[in-house]
């Protein structure tokens, strides 16, 4: 409304947007983004086709998540390391010592045989990694 009335007056008002603090604002945002970013650290050797599910939760803190990929051929990868079934427990145990709040996120392909997943779960139990999650896509 103010601008309309100003126009109606006819005389031109000099409008200056103060830009001197713009860089401060931009840098503040920039630093905020740098600090909050968690870079994608690990990529799977065999990207899985995740199953779909309805009752999924969002796992909030990426820093507490260890990714465990299982390919249909039974190749297991924990974060950056390709491991055997026997090495699952020691690897997860080491990660748990660094971060006791660790959640192991099982990212298994939907064609993987259940026996493979069950073996991995049993190994996780042995390593006391009791907080796990099955990665799934939303059904929408």
């Amino acid at each position: 409304m103010a601008s309309v009335s100003r126009k109606m007056q006819g005389n031109e008002v000099e409008v200056n947007i103060p830009t001197s603090s713009m860089s401060d604002i931009a840098f503040l945002l920039l630093i905020f983004f740098i600090v909050t970013t968690v870079f994608v650290q690990f990529r799977p050797e065999h990207p899985p086709e995740l199953p779909r599910a309805e009752s999924i939760d969002a796992l909030k803190n990426k820093r507490n998540i260890a990714n465990l990929w299982i390919s249909p051929e039974g190749i297991i990868q924990i974060d950056s390391a390709l491991v055997n079934l026997d090495q699952v427990a020691p690897t997860v145990l080491r990660k748990l010592q660094h971060n006791p709040k660790l959640i192991v996120l099982i990212k298994s392909d939907e064609r993987t045989k259940y026996g493979m997943v069950s073996d991995v779960i049993e190994e996780l139990r042995r390593a006391q990694a009791l907080r796990i999650a099955f990665s799934a896509k939303s059904e929408l």
Partner: protein, 148 residues
Amino acid sequence: MMMGKKPVEASAEIPTSSMSDIAFLLLVFFIVTTSMSQDKGIGTTLPPPGEPLPIPKENIASVWINNRGDVALKMMGRDFVTVSLPQLRELVEQRIIQNPNLVVSILAQKEADYKTFIDVFDEIRLAGSPHDWSKISIAQPPGARSGP
């Protein structure tokens, strides 16, 4: 900005007008390279290793998944019945209303697809309270490596 005029003043100004451009450029770069994708999944808590807790038989509903991906449900006093996924959810829902302490045990055979397992797990979680993870147990398939 009317300041007292001094006789000789060398202008020593850093040009700051393009500073915001630089900052925004960096900002946009960071926003673009950041992966905002959140991990999503079905969370659960495994029982600690050791002897399984004894559960009274009347509180157990077993769900079996065979190698072909058929799903069967057994509840107290009844035989196994093959069910479809929506039926499974309905039956388990009814059963939970009758008995809030119901523990659903999922037993899948080794050659079953992981997809079927997740489908069943999902349905059971939807049937019960989705955030009560303790009422679903994952049984070891026959012929699995020996437990702890």
